[in-house]
């Protein structure tokens, strides 16, 4: 019995079947999907190891994503390897046509599902995927760019694939996409964008993008220049934490944070005890105004990008019939309160 087992294991499990040389693999690091006239336009960034390592971009058109990938394999003469995918670019057409792109990646056991999604203009796809091919390729470049952005300004935010699927399936929430554009022949991480139920696009400005990240707990630090009379002071915000509460049909958003003064030009004497109180007050008003601006933007565009509907569904599922009615059309009827609780903890190394 033991001998039979050893012989069988030697024959069956030594992995000679379906063996692929690394030189025959086309490692996909970035992929872009567009959808037009019932055709998928797939653009792929491939790392190819022949005599030397090269990054190449291929474009195909097909009836399905699977077919498109197969055609790229044919064009590149490589077996497509999806496990190292880092970047998925999608266009407005994909969102407006409500094309289900996650099905392909979830169903394919070889996809590791650990990549990020960005919204791009359909005309920029090839440029974005080709621009850094002399170095490490744009997929890695964009990943690095996002890391630095999150560490400092937080005007954009990552949308990982699983989070994208999660939000696609949940009730009462619209997905907010990070966007990428081309400016002066280089890749730029732009502000956020979102689409409501009726496919109306909403582009955030930088301030709105930062406040979206703060309200949805996607960032815990950022920098703002806050006006104080006719001057300004710069505050580095830290430990940002936002809590929601649904109480008596009123939605409450409470944000708590701490701040460190990085630059100070106001007229108030910083050594005066009252100044800290004044600056805290100014900061709270500034933050609350920006929060209210974002809430008004949400109501005006009928776009629940904050996921308030989702929160309400989870805490009071009988409040609204999410299955029969369109939540986005009712968001403007909602009573929303916002409150900021800032605490300035440091004025830096100088007393001026």
């Amino acid at each position: 019995m033991k001998k039979i087992l050893i012989i069988l294991i030697t024959i069956l499990l030594t992995g000679c079947k379906n063996y692929t040389e690394i030189n025959d693999l086309g490692v996909v690091t970035g992929i872009a999907i567009d959808y037009k006239d019932e055709q998928y336009k797939i653009t792929s960034q491939l790392i190819i190891n022949d005599t030397k390592t090269e990054i190449k971009v291929y474009e195909t058109e097909s009836k399905s994503i699977e077919e498109g990938i197969a055609q790229i394999s044919k064009l590149s003469n490589k077996e497509i390897f999806l496990s190292k995918l880092k970047l998925l670019l999608i266009t407005e057409n994909i969102i407006k046509e409500k094309v289900n792109i996650y099905d392909f990646f979830l169903r394919d056991a070889k996809s590791n599902m650990d990549f990020y999604i960005y919204l791009v203009d359909e005309n920029n796809i090839k440029d974005i995927l080709s621009i850094n091919n002399e170095q490490n390729g744009s997929a890695l470049y964009i990943q690095q760019m996002m890391t630095f952005n999150e560490r400092n300004l937080s005007s954009s935010t990552k949308l990982d694939f699983m989070n994208y699927v999660y939000k696609s399936l949940e009730k009462g929430i619209n997905i907010v996409y990070p966007t990428i554009s081309i400016e002066e022949e280089s890749i730029k991480l732009s502000n956020l964008s979102s689409f409501n139920y009726n496919n109306n696009k909403l582009d955030f400005n930088e301030n709105e993008s930062i406040f979206f990240n703060m309200i949805t707990n996607k960032t815990d630090r950022t920098i703002f220049s806050i006006p104080c009379e006719d001057k300004e002071f710069t505050l580095e915000l830290q430990d940002i934490k936002t809590k929601y509460k649904w109480d008596n049909n009123i939605f409450n958003i409470n944000m708590s944070l701490t701040g460190k003064i990085k630059n100070y030009n106001c007229r108030y004497n910083i050594n005066d005890n009252k100044t800290e109180k004044i600056l805290t007050n100014i900061t709270n008003i500034f933050i609350e105004n920006n929060m209210n601006n974002l809430i008004n933007l949400m109501k005006k565009n009928n776009n629940d990008f904050l996921g308030i509907g989702n929160y309400i569904y989870k805490h009071d599922k009988n409040y609204f019939n999410f299955d029969k009615d369109i939540w986005d059309n009712h968001i403007n009827e909602l009573n929303i309160n916002s409150k900021s609780n800032a605490n300035i903890i440091s004025i830096g190394e100088i007393r001026k």
Binding site: I4, L8, N18, L106, N112, D114, V165, Y166, K314
Partner: protein, 362 residues
Amino acid sequence: MKNEEKINSISLSLTTISLIQSSFWGILTSFMLYKSENATIISIIFGYIISLFISKIILCFFEYKTSKSLIEKFKYIYGKFSPIINILYIVGTIFTYIFISYRLSSFLSSEYLTETSELLFYVLILLITFYIANKKTETLSKVSTISCFIAILIFISAAISLTKEINIENYLPLITVSNHNILLTSIVFSIYFSAPTIYINIIKKNNLVDKENFNKYFYISNIITFLICLFSIIITIGVFGIKLSNLFSYPLYSVLKKIKLFSFIDSLENIGVMLWIFFSIISSSIILISLFNSIKETFNLKKRQNKISKLILLITLLIIPMILFKNNTLVETYNYTYIPFYIFLFLIILIILSSILSKIKK
């Protein structure tokens, strides 16, 4: 005491962890999440409470005529009808083996070697379990004990790694399905949770070194198993949310993909999934030992005849899935959950009936 094996109560009770977990991980989770959604947590708790009563009956039957094996007990209770009962038990056990092992092979085929046939994995599992089962209960109990500790260690480390990914909001709203669905999944869970423990009968209670401690260790193992089931579901829903969890065929495996150490060590799900592989191999081996013993005792086989019967059993276990799973509709739908459920239900009814008759006979 010719050919009588002695094992201790801890080893035997630890095998129940593998027996229960093997079907829970592969077959039951996606069905429960689909039927009860977030209320699966409630179903598991209710189901466990129901299973305690069934486990009590199974334990009582285990304690009945402690010098007799399961088949000998059937022979004693059912008299001239015992061959029919024994054959029904053997058929039920054959199908239990097939459903547990084939699920593991279809998982390995779909997640790892997609171009390799499920049947090939099944053959390998069959050969491994056949080899282990031939080594008798004593060896198996030692392997099972070590595997159980490794599996529990893997589970704890995976659970700790995933705790930071949990979003409390994902548990709300807790009840989105009808009471009927919650009740159905509670019953299915209780049957899946208690029925596999019937296979503790692979050994006579008298052959336990410390038989007086068995019940205590049995309930401790039972609680550990319940906690593993409960926390694995709590973590899966907490990390993915119910809608996303429902998309996956193997949600407990998919959630393990979220584990990352130091933000650069990934693919740790492949270590995590060893837990299910351990449980399935051990439980399939236990079921196979039960089959060997049952066939031998039912037909009063001699040594040579016994070897031939094992060979016939091997061929039977190979041929049935080739016919049963010829098309994919059974493997990839929730019907896969119902068949083991009916087999387990039959086995439980058999044990309950036997317990009642044994009481009458007394």
